[in-house]
């Protein structure tokens, strides 16, 4: 018989005690739901259509995503959701119903009540004609005019929509040289050469076409969706921003275009701590890539020696979504990659110097994920205790991972998962009603939609209505919200890292970013729960160009904009 170590039992009891103390009401009554789906109530009526045809075309099981971004500059997050449509030749044109949709957030704050968004479909007025088979969205102000632009990754040609600043967008894809006709799963904007202009990384998947569709089968011999191994992987593309509204394709000279991989997730982040943004690409069923920035717009792929290409057993896994953030509180951004059923989600702890270790086993994030196929994911501090918790949105891609039965995608539906950070790199599953819904979840965008100081989650389900999971936790520790803005252009400084120093507690590190998750773009603002150490002594920002500045403590329970160049300069 196995012996149960004493320490382990004690640890579990302590963890449970901490959980109960933090969340359960004193009365002993059932815990109220933390997250409530308010999509319908707030006017977010949209269903992502996979266009299922019975032909089991690969893209039908992979889309789609969404973006949370303040396109109208009014201080609240608006929504763009990509859309799919029937791929079978001869299918009727769905018209505008088959296009992605833009929803404007008209946030209202009734006297004495909590802020409440009201979403209005402004797609027609915006001029956006997202006619491609939508997979994902990326956001960033590529022309430095202070307005956030939108990049749409499609199965087929992509689109770059320039924000005109008057509520409308212009398709500048061709003029900017920003297309990629292959199957793109997502993209990310980052200033890879630190010249002040956002470059664009386009994440490509596999060489599938309706014409080269093949028949694949489940282990039970039933016809099923294919996996990526049935098709050739496709290299990604890196576009350098020339600063004049156009991009130069530097895929080959940078090295990026010389390695093909079935990419489904991408994050630009300074993983080796040298001040230059690197790239992590989660490949589906193949070794992941860690592209280390060589500071001259070339990259070296270091995934193997870094310890993030394969799991601890040396197996490639089906990388889908990525959460990048300092989950273990050591000041370095760690990685959580979501994977297929029968694989764990894998937690790579950043050891510094561009090296990682697979810390899944001791993190508690592996075993509970085994039955599920994870897609959208993100770190979020849902209880404001200063530690990054984790949300994972699931949905099978094949019958081997399906548990249900029924028509369409129903058999592929799975529940989602929310994990609470217990500290020390350990996590525990939270039983949260809103995460029990059975759906085929894909993209998830994270952001404070109602500006109340906590992170809400927009979830895109395949052939299901979008969900807006709103954090309704009422009694939270103090928090600070930061928007990190540029000087030359009033744009979000993607890639900026923030250190929040607190009295009597370790500093908290966060990053201004929109990328990660799956096929989605999140809120670029930084939200920091202060937990039991609410006194902030200083905020330090490492800006994307390497400048380090300190700022006085911002007010609690409010958003503050920190502008690059206006703080006190510090040595690097």
């Amino acid at each position: 018989m196995e012996a149960r170590p004493r320490g382990e039992v004690k640890g579990v009891i302590l963890a449970l005690a901490a959980f109960v103390a933090g969340l359960a009401p004193a009365t002993g009554a059932p815990s109220p739901a933390l997250f409530v789906d308010r999509a319908t109530e707030w006017g977010l009526a949209f269903t992502y259509s996979t266009g299922q045809s019975g032909e089991l075309y690969f893209p039908e099981i992979m889309g789609g995503g969404a973006a949370l971004f303040d396109y109208d500059g009014d201080g609240d997050l608006d929504v763009f959701v990509v859309q799919g449509h029937a791929l079978k030749p001869g299918s009727p044109d769905p018209g505008p119903a088959g296009w992605g949709r833009l929803f404007r957030n008209d946030l209202i704050t009734p006297r004495g009540k909590n802020p409440a968004p009201r979403f209005v479909d402004v797609t027609a007025a915006s001029g956006i004609r997202a006619t491609g088979y939508g997979m994902g969205a990326a956001t960033g102000d590529f022309d430095n005019d202070g307005r956030i632009d939108l990049y749409l990754a499609n199965f087929g040609s992509n689109q770059l929509w320039r924000n005109n600043g008057d509520g409308t967008f212009a398709d500048v894809t061709a003029r900017a040289g920003a297309d990629d006709p292959r199957w793109s799963a997502g993209a990310t904007f980052a200033d890879f050469d630190r010249d002040g202009w956002l470059d664009l990384y386009i994440l490509n998947y596999v060489d599938f076409s309706v014409a080269n569709n093949v028949r694949c089968y489940a282990p039970n011999t039933r016809r099923d969706y294919c996996g990526p191994a049935a098709f050739a992987p496709v290299p990604d593309r890196l576009l350098r921003n020339r600063g004049n509204g156009t991009f130069e394709d530097v895929s080959l000279p940078s090295g990026i275009g010389r390695k093909a991989g079935p990419g489904l997730g991408v994050v630009a982040d300074d993983f080796d701590g040298d001040g230059w943004p690197d790239l992590f690409v989660a490949n589906d069923g193949a070794a992941s890539f860690l592209w280390i920035n060589q500071r001259n717009l070339t990259f070296r792929e270091d995934g193997l020696i870094a310890g993030v290409a394969l799991n601890a057993a040396g197996r490639p896994e089906a990388g889908m979504g990525i959460a990048a953030g300092d989950a273990d509180g050591d000041g370095r951004d760690d990685l959580l990659i979501t994977h297929l059923t029968a694989e764990t989600n894998t937690f790579y702890a950043n050891l510094g110097g561009g090296l990682f270790e697979d810390a899944t086993a001791r993190s508690g994030l592996g075993a509970p994920s085994l039955p599920f196929t994870g897609f959208g994911t993100g770190w979020l501090d849902f209880d404001g205790d200063g530690r990054l918790d984790l949300a994972v949105f699931n949905g099978a891609v094949n019958l081997a991972g399906a548990t249900g039965s029924g028509a369409g995608l129903t058999p592929y539906a799975q529940p989602d998962q929310l994990y609470r950070n217990l500290g020390g790199g350990r996590f525990a599953l939270v039983e949260e009603p809103a995460f029990r819904k059975m759906a085929v979840s894909r993209g998830a965008a994270f952001g404070d939609v109602d500006n109340d100081g906590d992170t809400d989650i927009l979830v895109v389900d395949a052939d299901g209505p979008v969900r807006l999971l709103v954090n309704t936790m009422e009694s939270r520790p103090p928090w600070i919200g930061l928007r990190l803005a540029g000087t030359k252009a009033d744009r979000d400084m993607l890639g900026a890292r923030v250190e929040v120093r607190r009295k009597g507690a370790p500093a908290l590190w966060r990053r201004a970013a929109t990328d990660g998750s799956y096929a989605s773009a999140s809120d670029p603002r930084v939200l920091v729960g202060l937990g039991e150490a609410p006194e902030v002594t200083e905020v330090r920002v490492v800006w994307p160009d390497g400048l380090v500045e300190s700022f006085p403590p911002p007010p609690a329970r409010a958003y503050t904009t920190l502008v690059c160049g206006t703080g006190k300069k510090e040595p690097k």
Partner: protein, 479 residues
């Protein structure tokens, strides 16, 4: 009805949710239907487990255990079904029950300890994992698999020295398990031995290590039908086990002789195993059955492109017509055209291949070589110079340019100094006979005849080691 009879009836009853058999391969549906009618619950459970119906399998194994509570097979297989479904606590409890019922350490029991150790490792319960795996390691049949998992447990503890010992031991026992080189490399990295880490990374592959597991291996053998054999064959082929893969594809053909997919796959693995004639025979037969099969055309075309370009050409043209965006097919077609003497057509196809796949250095090289064959030397040089601007670290293109600059028939294209620099860089990166010969040619072009002769000897010395036999090395000297 007494209590015992009632318990038996309940145990033998149909599972709550028997799997829907629609859409299954007919032979498989018939097999399951027959087992439902005839089989005891444990037998039916094994068939369910064989096809991935894990919940239904677990249900039947529970029923079997109720009928035969002293038989360790049922909790063991229940553990396997629960593990496959991701129910790790249930799986561990079931394996533990099975192990309690198995006196001593038999091969089956040892495999059970491996399962239990693997589960505890996934759960992060390292003490429990190591306790189970040490028992498995004491049995020769499961020692290597247990040591590899003990290595993972040691890695998780950051006990890199112990991890190295375990992985080295597992690899010594099963050298083919090249997947282990990766965690071994990470263990060396943890010991700050970067050189050894890199060495093992270079040897890492995807051939894993599996403990013999008599019960579960028996379950796997229950799988029938063409599709199952096809899947097994693909898995074997991906792991580089071409003989096993060919055997599975032949089984698929036995199940359905008209299966084009099985024949195409068989052709592919025969080609990978070096049986080109056998491969061509299978692919031709596949095309007889399905003349429009693009994969068969591609495989046959690529198989013949190097040796029989005239025969390869129509196959590759079929592929390009069906898949105009297929860069690899265009490159192979270009090669067949070039080797068949159709140089302008080859050049056009190479151009399209490069446009479709700018990162394909082989296509770029082929394009330059075709220009050389057309006598358009200056153009070839310009093309290679441009290529190297795009792919500055390409040894293949650097070497081609070095050769052209060292030995081009058109003297105005030659540049011995640049050729030497390129050739030396390529040699440093990869010291092969061919690269040594190019250094010699560049030195010859510069009139440094003595050095050229020395490099020529180096090339000749390297050639036998590397299986090169070309005595016509093209090295000359212009004193």
């Amino acid at each position: 009805m007494n209590a015992l009879v009632l318990a038996l009836v309940l145990a033998l009853g149909a599972p709550a949710n028997p799997p829907d058999l629609s859409g299954l391969e007919p032979a498989v549906a018939a097999q399951i239907a027959e087992m439902r009618t005839l089989g005891a619950p444990g037998d039916l459970g094994q068939v369910y487990l064989a096809y991935g119906f894990n919940d239904a399998a677990a249900d039947r194994f529970r029923a079997a255990a109720a009928l035969e509570p002293g038989d360790p097979r049922w909790p063991y297989l229940l553990g396997a079904a629960d593990q496959a479904a991701g129910r790790l606590d249930d799986a561990a409890a079931a394996f533990a029950r099975a192990l309690e019922m198995s006196p001593g350490i038999s091969p089956s029991a040892a495999a059970g300890w491996v399962h239990l150790g693997e589960i505890r490792l996934l759960q992060g319960r390292l003490d429990n994992a190591e306790a189970a795996l040490k028992k498995a390691a004491s049995v020769p049949a499961t020692n290597a698999a247990a040591r590899s998992l003990l290595g993972q447990a040691a890695l998780a503890r950051r006990d890199f020295k112990a991890a190295v010992e375990h992985f080295e031991a597992a690899l010594a026992a099963v050298p083919a398990a090249n997947r282990l080189h990766y965690p071994l490399a990470l263990a060396y990295r943890g010991l700050n031995d970067r050189a050894r880490a890199e060495e093992h990374l270079a040897r890492a592959g995807q051939v894993g290590l599996k403990a013999p597991d008599p019960l579960l291996d028996g379950v796997a053998d229950l799988r029938l039908g063409e599709r199952v054999a096809l899947m097994r064959g693909r898995v074997a082929a991906q792991a580089g086990r071409y003989a096993d893969a060919a055997q599975e594809f032949r089984k698929a053909l036995a199940a359905r002789p008209e299966s084009v997919e099985a024949r195409v796959n068989l052709g592919s693995v025969l080609a990978s195993a070096g049986d080109r004639a056998g491969a061509a025979e299978q692919l031709r037969e596949a095309l007889r059955l399905d003349p429009s099969n693009v994969t068969a055309h591609f495989n046959l075309g690529s198989l013949l492109a190097g040796s029989a370009p005239t025969e390869a050409r129509p196959h590759l043209e079929m592929v390009v017509a069906a898949r105009p965006e297929d860069a690899e097919a265009r490159r192979l077609l270009a090669q067949a055209l070039r080797d068949g003497g159709h140089l302008p057509e080859a050049l056009e196809q190479y151009g399209q291949a490069v446009a479709l796949a700018p990162g394909d250095e082989t296509a770029r090289l082929g394009e330059a070589e075709t220009l050389v064959r057309l006598g358009r030397y200056a153009e070839a040089r310009r093309r290679l110079e441009d290529d190297l601007k795009q792919m500055s670290t390409s040894g293949l293109l650097s070497h081609a340019l070095a050769r052209l600059l060292a030995a081009c028939p058109d003297p105005s294209v030659r540049d011995g100094t640049r050729a030497l620099a390129l050739a030396q860089a390529v040699w440093q990166a990869q010291p092969t006979a061919d690269h040594a010969r190019t250094v010699a040619m560049a030195l010859g072009e510069l009139g440094r005849c003595r050095e050229a002769a020395r490099w020529r000897r180096t090339a000749l010395g390297q050639a036998p080691q590397q299986g090169e036999s070309d005595p016509e090395d093209g090295v000359s000297c212009r004193p």
